[in-house]
């Protein structure tokens, strides 16, 4: 294809976008809206994931040491624990610290532990964090092989619960994403179909005066791609603005959780959205134009 023909296609697409202002606007809005909704979900999901990570991070195994174990032995055991695969980090909690914790747990009844310092009944323990909640059962089995523990508290029930909730959230987001993609693509391809439909006369005239199929297709393809890109850019703009505004509004109200930073989200969606916008626009054009090419 000659370069000047390509230039012509570009000019033609721009002219056509300008000429069919209403329809171009509709297409861009549709792409932008679909991607925006998509983006809202992506942001929600990535925040939920980060929240889930935070919660998962809190899954821990507590292994209570038998009484009268020397601090030298403690260090050996710590090394042993660290060697177990799946263990993320290990914290030692001495008898004194355990007592302090319990008295804090009791809250307004803390007087209860007064005087216990001398004959502290609470055992020292290791608090072991694992990489994934699903590592808990393996790590806990390995720990039970070490003879120095009185008792291993692996909160298996809570862990299972967390695994289930996480899986549920992931499944739900996946399903929702698939549904939204299908809806989005069908909306856009319908819009472009309508654009082509409104120009079928033009297409038929082109065919009569000897235009090849690709000559007819190219401007539509470029137009679709440009509209898709524009829609993607608008969606990205609104998402970024909305998210940073939303974070500012909401952050002071939420103590236990920090938002995924805008930059992280922006980096991951920018190229994805531009590519998806281009693809949707171009592909939508091509499938929409096909049936009008048969003269």
């Amino acid at each position: 294809m000659k370069i000047r023909t390509f230039n012509y296609f570009f000019k033609e697409s721009f002219k056509s976008i300008k000429r069919n202002r209403v329809m171009s606007f509709a297409s861009v809005t549709t792409v932008a809206a679909a991607l925006f909704i998509f983006g809202v979900f992506m942001i929600i999901i990535s925040n939920v994931n980060s929240l889930v990570d935070t919660v998962e991070n809190k899954v821990e195994i507590k292994a209570f040491l038998k009484d009268d174990i020397s601090s030298l032995k403690v260090r050996d055991i710590e090394k042993e624990i660290k060697a177990i695969s799946g263990v993320k980090n290990v914290t030692y909690e001495s008898k004194d610290e355990a007592l302090k914790k319990v008295s804090e747990q009791l809250g307004e009844n803390k007087d209860l532990t007064e005087g216990l310092e001398e004959d502290n009944p609470f055992p020292a323990s290791f608090i072991i964090k694992v990489n994934k909640p699903s590592d808990v059962s393996y790590v806990s089995k390995e720990l039970s092989k070490i003879q120095d523990f009185e008792k291993i508290n692996d909160a298996q029930e809570i862990v299972n619960q967390i695994i289930k909730i996480t899986n549920f959230i992931k499944l739900f987001s996946l399903i929702l994403m698939i549904i939204l993609s299908v809806i989005g693509i069908s909306l856009i391809s319908n819009t472009i179909k309508l654009t082509v439909y409104a120009r079928k006369r033009e297409i038929s005239i082109m065919k009569y005066i000897g235009a090849t199929d690709w000559f007819v297709k190219w401007p539509f393809l470029l137009e679709g791609i440009m509209l898709g890109l524009l829609g993607a850019l608008i969606a990205i703009g609104f998402l970024s603005a909305g998210y940073s505004y939303g974070m500012k509004m909401v952050s002071p109200n939420i103590l236990f959780f920090s938002f995924v930073p805008l930059k992280t989200i922006f980096q991951s969606i920018l190229w994805q959205f531009l590519l998806v916008g281009m693809f949707i626009g171009g592909f939508g054009s091509l499938i929409s134009i096909r049936k009008f090419l048969v003269l």
């Binding site: 033009e202 009569y208 235009a211 090849t212 199929d213 000559f215």
Partner: protein, 228 residues
């Protein structure tokens, strides 16, 4: 050059538009296609353009059986045929200039060629002053002349005109006919469907008369031949 061999065309609703037509037109001929409304003239032209397929028979153009053209080859085949439609078929969103330039862009003509040729064509049909107007701003006759300029822009070997003077006053119509005569003399084959009795009678060209899908007359230096 153009050869219809035993062509029949039956439309889906079983209407027989053409039945067993055979006709050959030589390179450089000027042929009038006459006949009452609904006789099958436009059907004949659509077959030649490969817009519709014959129910039976073969059409050969420049030695090529157009039935056997592949989908990809059809555009290149059509580029050799200039066409003036009965109902104009101008692009409403383009100016007069753009409509003509468009036909040249479609066949990937150069920018300079287009810049040079389009004004030539427009002055040929007397529309230089309307170059920047849109079709809906033109009178019926002006639109028809734009279509003619478009059809001529690519120097086609064959020019097909379906009722090109139907919306023109006699004076303008004769201007167009003189133009067609010149183009014909320079070697272009012309096939023109028309109801304009005086034009046919005075031009003294070959006349093919169709009635109810059958050729009833094929006459060199003929006349319109229907009583009015």
């Amino acid at each position: 050059m153009i050869e219809f061999k035993n062509i029949s065309k039956v439309y889906k609703n079983n209407h027989i538009a053409l039945s067993n037509i055979s006709l050959s037109i030589n390179k450089g001929e000027f042929v009038f296609l006459v006949g009452p409304s609904g006789a099958g003239k436009s059907t004949f032209i659509k077959l030649l353009l490969k817009e519709i397929e014959p129910t039976s028979g073969d059409i050969t153009v420049n030695g090529v059986n157009i039935k056997k053209l592949k989908r990809k080859e059809v555009p290149y085949y059509r580029r050799n045929i200039g066409i003036v439609f009965q109902d104009f078929r101008l692009l409403q969103e383009m100016t007069v200039f753009e409509n003509v330039a468009f036909a040249m862009q479609v066949v990937e003509a150069g920018h300079k060629d287009i810049k040079r040729k389009v004004p030539q064509m427009l002055s040929l049909v007397g529309l230089s002053s309307k170059a920047n107007m849109y079709p809906h701003q033109l009178s019926g006759g002006e639109q028809q002349r734009v279509v003619l300029a478009r059809a001529l822009s690519n120097n086609p070997g064959i020019l097909i005109c379906d009722e090109p003077t139907g919306n023109l006053d006699p004076e303008t119509a004769w201007g167009i006919m003189d133009l067609l005569n010149d183009i014909n003399k320079s070697g272009t084959t012309i096939l023109m469907a028309t109801h304009a009795k005086d034009i046919v009678d005075r031009m003294k060209k070959r006349v093919v008369a169709i009635e109810k899908g059958v050729i009833v007359r094929d006459q060199q230096r003929g006349v319109y031949g229907y009583e009015d």
